[in-house]
């Protein structure tokens, strides 16, 4: 086995050398993606100006100049690059028609522009596809926080019959059936020698997703000390955002703009949809009925519509929800332990506008990964692609009167 692996490695080198054969064979990167430094162990570690600051209890929460929370890192350039191919490869779905990128499209903020994700079978998945920007920092995955790692999380969509509908056997069969993938996995996981494993796939996809870093927004320039990065209205919006009237920053806490907690805020479901109990099920805790993981707001301007089931089409509607009165959209008779920061802040229309202006300063895609032009499977990258604007919820009537 060892000999075979070495031979494969040699082949990989041979394939890399002459430019002419690059069309036939894939090579994996030997350099880290943007933002990462290759350390002595040959793995990539994140480097960012926020590392020059402290954070209380190492939690990575605070104000402008605060250290980031711990992140997933330590993958090799080859593992990250292999993950990139896999991420865009519809080979991972049972029918070869959708990839991770079908719902997490880099051109749509690593989301899909839809109110709720569309499964491989065309079904309504029930919740919105979250952005993957800065997912490396998250301790819990899914809206209802039911997964503790990316490795665990990805098993959901890969093997859900409504999503990618695959099985471990079939998925591994497809990968092992690809000479290119066998070569690339051997390169990314040298010395293992065995067949492609599910654990290797999980590692590679985790490695790639953990490389999606967005920390160069105009807000970041302001936070790190260059105050001219934001104009007067944007700074006014920041001050509304972190004021104790609006209280946005209490849960959407810098520098990631999430405190990674579960919050019950009582947003309405789209018309005709039943109440999603969210984290109540995960934790078997009635007090968490309607609770969801606080999402990051980085790149939020790119990922409409908003909330767990896409009730709000625009940022303006979304921020307006918070000034509609505590519990205004909770269905009558449903006991919900609303978060203490959900109150009646009586924000003015001008303040709501300023919040939207500020949220747009959190956009940064400067570390967008390259989308592969072709894939080891020979399939076309992405498979099905979402189109922005499809199935966006009508958010016109999100007011209290139609709910209670």
């Amino acid at each position: 086995m060892r000999v075979a692996a070495a031979l494969l490695a040699l082949l990989a080198l041979a394939g890399a050398a002459p430019r002419a054969s690059a069309e036939e064979h894939f090579t994996l990167a030997d350099a880290c993606p943007p933002g990462f430094e290759l350390n002595a162990a040959g793995t990539c570690v994140l480097r960012n100006l926020y590392q020059f600051y402290d954070s209380l209890q190492g939690a990575g929460l605070g104000g402008t100049r605060t250290h980031l929370p711990p992140n997933r890192e330590g993958f090799t350039p080859a593992q990250i690059d292999l993950g990139r191919y896999l991420f865009f490869d519809p080979l991972l779905s049972a029918d070869g028609r959708i990839s991770c990128a079908s719902c997490h499209d880099p051109e749509l903020g690593f989301s899909d522009g839809r109110a709720r994700a569309e499964g491989g079978d065309g079904s309504d998945i029930g919740r919105a596809a979250p952005t993957l920007w800065n997912v490396a920092f998250l301790k819990r995955l899914f809206w209802d926080a039911r997964a503790q790692s990316l490795e665990e999380q990805m098993l959901g969509p890969l093997f859900s019959q409504h999503e990618m509908a695959n099985t471990p056997e079939k998925l591994l069969g497809s990968l092992r059936g690809s000479e290119e993938y066998r070569r690339l996995f051997a390169q990314a996981f040298p010395g293992v020698g065995e067949d492609i494993s599910l654990a290797q796939l999980q590692t590679a996809l985790t490695a790639f997703q953990s490389s999606l870093i967005s920390l160069n927004s105009r807000y970041d320039r302001y936070a790190l000390g260059y105050h001219a990065a934001l104009d007067e209205r944007e700074i006014a919006g920041l001050n509304v955002f972190r004021s104790f009237v609006a209280r946005c920053a209490e849960c959407h806490t810098p520098p990631l703009f999430t405190n990674q907690q579960i919050a019950v805020i009582g947003t309405p479901e789209p018309e005709g949809r039943p109440l999603d109990v969210g984290a109540e099920k995960t934790f078997n805790a009635p007090k968490l009925k309607g609770g969801f993981k606080v999402p990051t707001l980085r790149n939020i301007a790119l990922t409409a519509p908003y909330m767990h089931s896409g009730r709000f089409a625009t940022l303006r509607e979304t921020v307006e929800f918070y000034t509609g009165g505590r519990g205004h959209a909770v269905p009558p008779g449903v006991p919900m332990y609303l978060h203490w920061h959900i109150w009646d802040p009586q924000l003015t229309p001008q303040e709501l506008d300023l919040l939207v202006v500020f949220l747009q300063t959190l956009t940064d895609q400067s570390f967008s990964p390259r989308v592969p032009e072709r894939l080891p499977s020979g399939l076309a990258p992405f498979g099905r692609r979402a189109t922005r604007g499809t199935a966006i919820a009508d958010g016109k009537d999100n007011k209290a009167e139609d709910r209670s």
């Binding site: 350099a31 943007p34 933002g35 430094e37 480097r47 960012n48 100006l49 020059f52 402290d54 954070s55 209380l56 209890q57 939690a59 929460l61 605070g62 104000g63 402008t64 100049r65 605060t66 920390l215 160069n216 320039r221 302001y222 936070a223 000390g225 260059y226 105050h227 001219a228 990065a229 700074i235 001050n239 509304v240 972190r242 004021s243 104790f244 009237v245 609006a246 920053a249 806490t253 810098p254 405190n259 990674q260 907690q261 579960i262 919050a263 934790f283 805790a285 007090k287 968490l288 505590r326 332990y337 609303l338 978060h339 203490w340 959900i342 109150w343 009646d344 400067s366 570390f367 967008s368």
Partner: protein, 494 residues
Amino acid sequence: MNKGILAGIVLAAAGFAAGRFLPVQAPPAVLPAPPVTAVAAPAAGAPVRSVAGPAPQREVTVEEGGSIQAAVTAAQPGTVIRIKPGRYHESVYIDKDDIRLIGVIEAGKRPVLDGEGNLNDAILYSGNNVVIENLELRAYKGNGIMGQAGNNFEIRNNVVVGTGVYGIFPQLGQNGIVEHNVVSGIADAAIYVGMSDNIHVAHNEVFDSVAGIEIENSRHAIVENNYVHDNAGGLLAFITPGLPIKTTYDVVFRHNFVLHNNHVNFGAPGSTVAGIPSGTGILVMAADDVIIEGNVIADNKTIGVLIVDHAHASNITADPESDPNSDRVAILDNTMLHNGYDTITDVKALMLAELKQGEADIVRAGPSTGSCIRNRERYVTAGVGDFAECGFADTYDRVNYLLPPVPPRVIESAERGKVAYLGICSGCHVYSGRLIGPPVQVIQALYMDNPQALADYIAKPVKKRPDYPEMPPQDYLDPQTRLAVAQYMLSLSK
């Protein structure tokens, strides 16, 4: 709208739980004093009195009619901004280090920041080493003074009246002093230390608020010599579940006057403090290692000291990551007079469970392991029968938990250059090959002997190559960082 203890602290479960509070007859054990657990305790004999280093370098004065914010915006770190008496209508934010806002008091007249009921917060700061002194803050909707992760702060000698939800609220900060402030008319806590470490709250007067002083999800805090009166609840040590920092421990409440905290509870619906029964002197909820020492606790109609776990508060969320119990609480000698004279049903039920009647000084509900009490026979109590005898009488061994001013971190130029390059430039440039901009190798060929020219270029790029997009200016990096980036870029070899 009777919510019971903490919107039910309570003792909704009283009947069910009563059996747990039957007096324990075993002789109490004697517990030793807990160790001083502050990190980096200062050398003995030299307690820290000031935390906001370094010394200011320059000074500006704002006159009435001028803008405090304009002065802050223009100020370099190391500036004292003196504010003359007069009226100011503005919100002030401080996103830089080493700024001191010092009011000038002349013949009893202070500068007044007046929110007129239409501005959000009086002062927000995120910088380190911020000092706020001698101001009067009135009529804001959010907070009077709110810190967001600023460390080494000093908030001193301010008058704060009716500033909304909190009067003084340092959050996510380490090493701070809140002293000699007079705070009143606050809809939640007059002084609220949230998710912070190494805090000293002393010599303040807090009154006419829902809560006087609250230490929440924080560690190493001393609250001493404060006058805490006429609030709905006086002193609070809490773990609030659902917050991202999960612990409260090592809190000392000592030598405070906690008097007549019988104000009607006007907390906002849904706020945790809205559940506190009016008439509560000291409330410990889920906090560990809380020492209550030498306080005068009198005329609090519901209870002098109440110790509960999360299960006895119905209006808080579920959080499996928060330990729900108040463990290792130490009640040393305190002066307790005339508490619990008009109490709530839940407290009466807990008393009855021990076949007691009368005006309760101390009640505990829910598990509280490792707790102790001195001279318990002096008080009317329920639920402390199994507390040990405290083996220590005072906390004189700890003057405060403050840390010496931490000198600014020195970041080597090479490190700064590398991190800025990786954090910013690497999105467009790789050593060899093309991303969005030209390869580093090509840049090296142009600038190898002149890093300053490269540093100047990245501040103000011009379009050079028809086949590449124009580089956006990186002028937001300071000149030292730009030069460091240039030097790093020119040193790359792969």
